[in-house]
């Protein structure tokens, strides 16, 4: 089943065409990579999928439900979690609170039951705390749970973003350059983490990444963007040997 389907997505910013009629299908349980040079439109694509932008043309579907005009917070509540390329943590909240905010979209205790401390709110809060601690354990940040998020090291901040996204219990997780700024041993750990969470939480993962090694290693399928157009799609072996891809992109790096 296609978890995510994009049909002819075009995005224009005042005359600049950031995406040009891009179509994609992401199957459940896959790790799907999106690669391409800087400015190819990868992050724009993420922003469209998560509802921050509404595409100029085209439609997108999440589990057969059209979400083209759905607002960002509703898309999140449907089960689409994400991390950000330029880390967007809640800097002056504790590490634990960052993850707790992440679960906002799947919790439902009402404003008044929280204000009055009714049993339902208390139960939910307890559950959220437990789950958040588990997630922090998973990404190895449980020790620093009381620190401010912006005091963490760079790699830790990236992992905290993943934990926060997982708190939403997503079925589709979007990772925007999760390895950026990491050294090679951190990258190895990250690969393990991504594979691990995919199995543990039964996730479909969409991944934008510059590190070819990482992408080729963990992705089932890869789409290549160049100047807003999709120029190739296939498994790592196919993409590596695609002439257009080598010309426009890979040739320089490998």
């Amino acid at each position: 089943m296609a978890v995510l389907k994009l049909e002819g997505i075009t995005q224009e910013f005042g005359g600049l065409r950031a995406l040009d009629s891009v179509s994609l299908e992401v199957e459940a349980g896959n790790i799907f990579g999106i690669i391409g040079p800087n400015g190819a439109g990868k992050t724009t694509l993420f922003n469209i999928i998560t509802g921050i932008y509404t595409p100029t043309e085209g439609n997108l579907f999440f589990k057969d439900e059209m979400i083209t005009n759905t607002s960002a917070y509703n898309i999140a509540r449907l089960g689409v979690g994400r991390t950000f390329q330029n880390i967007r943590l809640f800097g002056k909240l504790s590490v634990l609170d960052n993850v707790k905010v992440g679960s906002y979209g799947i919790t439902s205790s009402s404003f008044f039951s929280n204000l009055l401390g009714l049993p339902k709110a208390k139960r939910e809060e307890k559950l959220v705390t437990e789950k958040s601690l588990e997630l922090l354990e998973l990404v190895g940040l449980v020790e620093v749970r009381h620190e401010y998020a912006d005091s963490l090291a760079y790699g830790d901040q990236r992992r905290l973003e993943i934990a926060r996204a997982l708190a939403l219990e997503p079925s589709l997780l979007l990772l925007d350059e999760p390895a950026a700024g990491m050294n090679s041993s951190e990258k190895l750990e990250l690969m393990e983490l991504i594979n691990g969470i995919k199995e543990q939480f039964d996730l479909t993962i969409l991944l934008v990444e510059h590190d070819m090694n990482l992408v080729m290693n963990i992705c089932d399928l890869i789409a290549v963007l160049d100047y807003g157009k999709k120029i190739a799609e296939g498994n790592p072996v196919e993409v590596k040997s695609d002439e257009k891809v080598i010309m426009s992109y890979l040739g320089v790096e490998i």
Partner: protein, 290 residues
């Protein structure tokens, strides 16, 4: 209760304590909007005046009981907060600041021309229902509820909006709704404080709720430390007492007040209790032990 208290403290100090209580309610309301949610509002006195006038008219003209009048004033102010919040809270930063300044001024000019509110003279002759006890019981209730709110999922969502709006949306927070909610509660509390104020002073006039009053409330929040409940309380304390203490240097009072703001911001830019958490204090304490 007042009589009992007066045996121990001077009427003058009792009066200051009441004003401090009212200012704490104002500061906590604005703290929710500006300190916690990060939406710069500079027209808080406008909501206070709506509450003050509504409550005063309800007791004076309609002979309603004090409790109902207070609630009426607060609800009216909250309603205005809600109505103004919807179209304006999508504006960012300083544009929102300007709109709230404008709102405060429009309300003030409205009351200057408001027949039922006595125009520029204002309203007088309200029974002084507001006592030390009423004010401080309300303060305690509001502080407790406020603390409860900020520790809940909704409170965290509000902080998250301040820290990073887009990331908050990505976590499923309906940021517009939450901002309007914060704005409405803040306005409600300002209206409540207004009603208390009107029935403490016994008279109100549009000039009591001018732009500088909004600024004064904002100063309390920022000085105390944005988003911190103890901070807002401390800010309200200091900025109510400071002008009183500066009375010794009477005509230079505001001069010192202005200079004080500059100096405090230079040396404590995050406010007195900004980014100070009990956890950090404990940690520091523990380190010293070791």
């Amino acid at each position: 209760m007042e009589g009992f208290l007066l045996q121990f403290i001077d009427a003058y100090y009792l009066r200051i304590l009441v004003i401090i209580g009212i200012n704490i309610i104002l500061a906590l309301g604005l703290n929710l909007i500006t300190g916690v949610t990060g939406q710069l509002s500079m027209g808080h006195a406008g909501f206070m005046s709506i509450g003050a006038y509504t409550a005063a008219i309800l007791t004076l003209q309609f002979g309603l009981s004090f409790g109902i009048a207070l609630l009426g004033g607060a609800v009216m102010a909250g309603l205005f907060g809600f109505l103004i919040g919807i179209p304006t809270l999508r504006l960012e930063g300083d544009y929102l600041a300007m709109v709230t300044i404008g709102f405060g001024e429009i309300i003030r000019v409205f009351f200057l021309n408001f027949e039922l509110g006595g125009k520029a003279t204002g309203l007088y002759g309200m029974t002084k229902y507001t006592t030390f006890t009423t004010v401080w019981i309300l303060v305690i209730i509001i502080v407790l509820l406020n603390a409860k709110l900020l520790k809940s999922r909704h409170g965290r969502a509000l902080y998250a909006i301040r820290e990073n709006e887009i990331a908050a949306e990505a976590a499923g927070v309906n940021t517009t709704l939450m901002k309007v909610l914060a704005f409405t509660i803040g306005a409600f509390l300002a209206g409540l404080a207004g009603g208390l104020y009107a029935h403490y002073m016994g008279y109100i006039a549009p000039k009591d709720f001018a732009f500088m009053k909004s600024i004064e409330i904002l100063n309390m929040v920022v000085l105390g430390g944005m988003g911190s409940i103890p901070g807002s309380i401390l800010g309200a304390f200091i900025l109510t007492i400071a002008p009183e203490m500066l009375r010794i240097v009477d005509e230079y009072r505001l001069l010192f007040y202005g200079a004080l703001l500059v100096i405090l911001m230079i040396f404590r830019p995050n406010g007195l209790l900004g980014n100070v958490r009990i956890y950090d204090l404990k940690k520091r304490f523990r380190k010293k032990e070791v």
